[in-house]
Amino acid sequence: MKILVPLKRVADPDNANKIKIAPDGAKIDTTGLEWKPNPFDEYAVEAALRLTENGATPKVRGGEVVVVTFGPKEADTTLRQMLATGADRAVRVDTTDDALDGSLVARALKALVEREKPDLVLMGKQAVDGDSNQVGQILAELLGWPMATFAATLQEEAGALLVGREVDGGVITLRVKLPAVVTVDLRIVAPTSVYSLATARTHKYADGVRFSALPAIMAAKKKPLIEVPLAELSPDTSLRIAYSKFEPPPVRKAGVKVPDVAVLVDKLVNEAKVL
């Protein structure tokens, strides 16, 4: 199976308080930010690797995993990191971070899909910076492909995927014919979430995303990473979303300590008016 995994780099979610907004509120100031791959996209890469191996010999790839990201030259690091965990090839669509929205990314991905002809596009359900949750859905619509979102489990069948989606009150299982677009949720990296046709059903993965071994990091620089100008994939680079203003969340006020329960109740009744 050939799988295309689109990735987004995001400001390190563990250091979210470092994000600065330009004084005019027009955009987020990205200088000095520490970048990390969007966690849901990392999970998608892990799921793609599991779908293209037999579990027992994770270095042998029975298929191809191609990773793609959008951004400037520095975004190559995000791709290298994925090549070091086992992806075969990488494509960076050259653009700047603030010249993108979900629609443009999906339009460019459509052109890339037509060029690469993968059996599956596997991606995170959303990026943890903008939380838009759009690209997978728009891409499936543009391609006219079946789609499953928020996948928690994946099981390969001949020409199809059995996708478990966690919904309110249970799990709904869909059979999607390939080619398809699937977006993944965090439980996709649990030990028994993903099985390729070649993987024994008794196999259990280590929980989470696999480590990049040091020889693989050294070998990753020899794996192909190509650059494609955005306009080559989507001559129309206009945006459908106009961002009017960014502002940081209000600074939280310090709490107060109360001497006893009576004062607490009084404050809840008369100040907070919640009782």
Binding site: N17, D76, T77, R80, Q81, A84, G208, F211, S212, A213, L214, P215, A216, I217, M218, A220, K221
Partner: protein, 392 residues
């Protein structure tokens, strides 16, 4: 309260590292924090090396990562140093295991061994299937290795080894030992290296119990009593003290990076502890006496890190000298030990508990201060280089 400035941003070496060096550091950092740190205190308490982790350590490519071929990663000195630093952020015992396997057991075979010897042992050692150790130190021969008593006598198409080695990291676990022995009764020039495999008659490795330092790393003796090895186990490329000292130079360079990992673990603990610990109505980090110590620690770690990186670049350029290795090992281990001791004190009574990493690192670093050339031996080496006069 503002956020504390991370140490990494103070020394700002990030921008001086290649993409690959950063990926190596980040990958080992995640491995150590997820796979080792949750067990670190318990392993130390039980005086136990986690043999079950060896396949994962090997799978990460941490064994002999600075060597080329035979499945090794072929990393440069800086990337290797950063990996060791992350390992020692976990525990000096974990780092020692990897240093001994990579620099003291694999490196001499890789450097001094024949093509057949490399092919025979290195792939298995890289995969963690063969654990190695390094037998140089003896009960009566420490800082003066030239006085060793272990002898190898020619016997037909082999050699018979007699002697005892002590303070040997990994020896009770080892499948093979690189043993240094004199082949004549004269001086150090007759020293040769031999690979002795587990199972050879006359080869025993009793474990040394009761260490109060490096408790998560296994230490033992090597007892050689009429132990006969074939000619094929003699390392052809090493003659005299230069053989074992070449290995030590590799390991010492790694330690100069590694020890800072232990220092950083202590420093991180101190910053978060003193910002939360309230005495006299304020977090103790608001006290000038505490800040003075935090500033001192951060300054020394930052300087040590910048020096390690500089010397790492020199090593990759093939220009690193023995006095520079002594300077860096002695300085950075001294820094780490002082940081750990100060951290222990800053945590007060909590500092003696294994609930925090500081007392573990402090005790570990007492060994790191003494092994791989004691602090004093490095002073003598530097003193000799700087004055031209031998004060040994």
């Amino acid at each position: 309260m503002r956020d504390p400035l991370p140490l990494d941003q103070l020394s700002a070496i990030e921008g001086l590292l290649s993409e690959e060096e950063r990926l190596v550091r980040d990958s080992v950092r995640r491995f150590v924090r997820e796979r080792y740190l949750p067990r670190a205190a318990a392993l130390f308490a039980k005086e136990e090396f986690p043999t079950d982790l060896v396949p994962e350590i090997a799978e990460m490519g941490l064994l002999g990562a600075h060597l080329t071929g035979y499945g090794c990663a072929g990393m440069n000195a800086v990337a290797y140093g950063l990996a060791l630093q992350e390992l020692e952020y976990g525990d000096s015992g974990l780092r020692s295991f990897c240093s001994v396997q990579g620099s003291l057991a694999m490196w001499p075979i890789w450097k001094y061994g024949s093509a057949e010897q490399k092919e025979r042992w290195l792939p298995g050692m890289q995969r963690g299937e063969l654990i190695g150790c390094f037998g140089l130190t003896e009960p009566d021969s420490g800082s003066d290795p030239g006085s060793m008593k272990t002898r190898a006598k020619k016997d037909g198409d082999g050699w018979v080894l007699d002697g005892a080695k002590m303070w040997i990291t990994n020896s009770p676990l080892a499948h093979l030992a690189v043993v240094w022995a004199k082949t004549g009764d004269g001086g150090a020039e007759s020293i040769r290296g031999f690979v002795v495999e587990r199972g050879t008659p006359g080869f025993e490795t009793p474990r040394m119990e009761g260490k109060m330092s490096l408790r998560a790393s296994t230490t033992g003796e090597i007892v050689l009593a009429g132990c006969r090895v074939p000619d094929a186990n003699l390392l052809p490329g090493a003659q005299g003290l230069a053989g074992p000292l070449g290995c030590l130079s590799q390991a010492r360079f790694g330690i100069s990076f590694g020890a800072l990992g232990a220092a950083k673990a202590c420093y991180d603990t101190v910053v978060s502890y003193t910002r939360e610990r309230v005495q006299f109505g304020v977090p103790i980090a608001k006290k000038q006496l505490v800040q003075a110590q935090i500033v001192e620690m951060a300054s020394e770690i930052a300087k040590g890190e910048i020096m390690a990186l500089h010397f790492g670049r020199l090593k990759d350029a093939g220009k690193l000298t023995a006095p520079q290795i002594s300077l860096c090992k002695r300085n950075n281990v001294g820094v780490a030990l002082r940081v750990a001791r100060a951290s222990r004190a800053l945590l007060g009574a909590n500092g003696i508990l294994l609930d925090y990493p500081v007392v573990r690192h402090m005790l570990n670093l007492e060994s790191v201060y003494t092994y791989e050339g004691t602090d004093e031996v490095h002073q003598l080496l530097l003193g000799r280089a700087l004055t031209g006069l031998d004060a040994f």
